[in-house]
């Protein structure tokens, strides 16, 4: 264990900005990417369901 306090851990021996800048952006990307895919999935599902329902209605009409 090299950090005697949480603030010391944040300071990261003076390199805090660079270390947390790197890890932060990486974490951000790893959160945003799955979110965007899920959003795209929901949009595709609702769009396709609407299309199928429209086609079904067309066949009956």
């Amino acid at each position: 264990m090299y950090w005697n306090s949480f603030s010391d851990f944040l300071a990261m021996g003076g390199y805090g900005f660079y270390v947390w800048g790197s890890f932060g952006v990486t974490a951000l990307v790893m959160v945003l990417e799955p979110l965007l895919i899920t959003r795209r999935r929901r949009a595709t599902e609702s769009r396709l369901t609407r299309q199928i329902r429209a086609e079904a209605r067309q066949e009956h009409a």
Binding site: M1, Y2, W3, F9, M12, G13, G14, Y15, Y18, V19, G21, S22, F23, V25, T26, V29, M30, E33, P34, I37, T38, R40, R41, T44, E45, L48, T49, Q51, I52
Partner: protein, 248 residues
């Protein structure tokens, strides 16, 4: 698994549920490996006498670089399979992997810059590996741009496949020429490859982070490929049933 039933999974309809079951597994593996990697990276690995704490960026920088290269190779593999066996799923896998690979290339460049700034005082260093990484990012963007520019998905997959295969042949040539160019003009004074002496514990940290990133890219690629399958197979009956069940 013998070749025959391996093809069974190459049909989108059978691959879709399989991918669905695998995604949570990969997310779990990612979580375990990531925690282990961060733990080793921050709490086990010693302070470097030369670079202080700043060197800890190396754990994700090297992992991201490996992953950006590895993902391109996997993409080229699926591209080759798609052209050879004309299976639709291979093209979908290649298109699913490209954005993730591009993001890893971006992360590698970003962390490289943030690591270079405190160590060499410059955000961007014309180091052989960083420059090749930048070119690899261009290759990814070229692949994504080409596949999105073509409306017919079959032609998009095949065109993307050719570009990926041509690209994968050129990556070593590009790396070699950039390395030659770098040593010629600058001499090897400034280069990220001279990372601090690799204590075995640091190697473990890097390996864990790289494996975590691998699990992450598998999970994300499978999620994206399922969406692509839905979009491209919307006229099939199994997709209609699936959506009908989903919307009740």
């Amino acid at each position: 698994m013998s070749m025959i039933n391996w093809f069974k999974f190459s049909a989108p309809s059978t691959f879709y549920p399989l991918a669905g079951r695998l995604i949570p597994v990969f997310w779990a593996l990612f979580a375990i490996l990531a925690l282990a990697g961060l733990w080793v990276g921050f709490f086990v690995a010693p302070t470097d006498f030369q670079q202080g704490e700043g060197y800890r960026i190396i754990f994700i920088h090297v992992g991201a670089s490996w992953m950006s290269m590895f993902t391109y190779l996997v993409m080229a593999f699926w591209a080759g399979m798609g052209l050879a066996f004309n299976t639709r799923l291979s093209g979908m896998m290649a298109s699913a992997l490209a954005p993730t690979g591009a993001l890893f290339a971006f992360i590698s460049l970003w962390t490289g810059a943030l690591w270079g700034k405190p160590m060499w005082g410059a955000w961007w260093v014309w180091d052989a590996r960083l420059t090749s990484e930048l070119i690899l990012l261009f290759l990814y963007i070229g692949f994504i741009a080409l596949t999105h520019a073509i409306d017919d998905t079959r032609r998009a997959d095949k065109a993307g496949a050719i570009l990926a295969l041509v690209g994968v042949v050129n990556v070593p040539i590009i790396y070699f020429s950039v390395k030659w160019w770098n040593t010629l003009h600058q001499g090897a004074s400034v280069s990220l490859t001279k990372a601090p002496a690799m204590a075995s514990i640091m190697l473990w940290g890097m390996l864990l982070c790289a494996l975590a990133m691998w699990m992450y890219s598998l999970a994300v690629a499978l999620m994206r490929v399922r969406v692509i399958i839905l979009e491209r197979e919307r006229h099939t009956d199994w997709v209609k049933e699936l959506l009908a069940k989903r919307s009740q």
